[in-house]
Subunit: 185 residues, 2 copies
Amino acid sequence: MMTATRKRIIESAIQVFNEDLSAPLQKVADNAAVTRRTLHRYFKDRNELVEICRQVIETSCKKAMIAAIQSSDEPMLQLERMLYAGIDCGAKYATFYKMHRSADHTHNQQNKNCADYDYIYATFQKIVVELQETGQLNPKMSPEWIQVLHSGIIESTVNARAITQQNIENIKELAWSSYFKAISP
Amino acid sequence: MMTATRKRIIESAIQVFNEDLSAPLQKVADNAAVTRRTLHRYFKDRNELVEICRQVIETSCKKAMIAAIQSSDEPMLQLERMLYAGIDCGAKYATFYKMHRSADHTHNQQNKNCADYDYIYATFQKIVVELQETGQLNPKMSPEWIQVLHSGIIESTVNARAITQQNIENIKELAWSSYFKAISP
DNA sequence: ACAAAATGTCTCACATTTGAGAAATACTTC
DNA sequence: GAAGTATTTCTCAAATGTGAGACATTTTGT
């Protein structure tokens, strides 16, 4: 059940909590252009709002990454589209990437989200290994490092978007170009 | 005047505030293995603690970056050492990089810190331009992009450090190698 | 061993944040 | 226009965070 106001509050929360995890809810409400009273009508408490933000981030990033993987059978194209998908997730990607890696996370294959997360990143590494075996990627870089670099490029690009006036498609191509060159043999 | 306890509190605060800007001071104290009462003995209030953390971050990162610049006359070597310096700053680098760029920052050349910051990043871009003119760096990438990528690689590398068991010098070389290839012609 | 310094424990008053009831107002739908 | 719904305004009690006094305990330095 998703009203426009509820959606607006969630997006505001994602933005505000991205900069300050413990920001007062008043700030989230202000940023969503609603009162805090209204915010409380939609969300039982802070914990619920944070949890729902997590779910929204997880659902959208997961969906985008899986779609990128399944958009092609060509490993290099998959890799490229995964980079673009990450960039399109914007600031949410950093949260998503860290989500299942944090110290207080209980990772469990029985959990659908954990399983999907593992699918994404295991597939990522499988793609990398495959491209290394066919000589398309630098065999000296570990798949782990290539993945770390992937998230670094995404984050840089997301940050650059906020600053530069350049066309978004240009930025994405630049990001891919930089990444591709970095990981090539 | 820097006692071991004071230093420990500051380092704890840098760490805790890095993850959660508005974390309760109790958390900082816990992480520093002191009581909150003691924390208050050393720091008048939260604002003072935050300000001193900023100063510590600024001083150490600035010093490291300027040292890297002045360690050589060779632009490429300067660039490489700046990457290493950033990585050595650890989580502090991200805060330092954003420090003078945030919306609520009053940037003023009369201010020594602002001037030094400008020196660092103007020099960075001068180095990039110089390397582009001599054909050592890709002329199609804007110096802004090359700088954004620099900070993105640093940040990823710092994050990867917490996760990987690899030797730190290896990671730094890998980061440089990736960055260098990304920005090469 | 002793004195001084540092820290912990306990407590308190105050400030801020939180969550929600009640009534008023604004908006939407038919 | 009327009824229903959504939101705002106002208020309050409770919870949490903050900063600091007083005293006790521990640590440090000579």
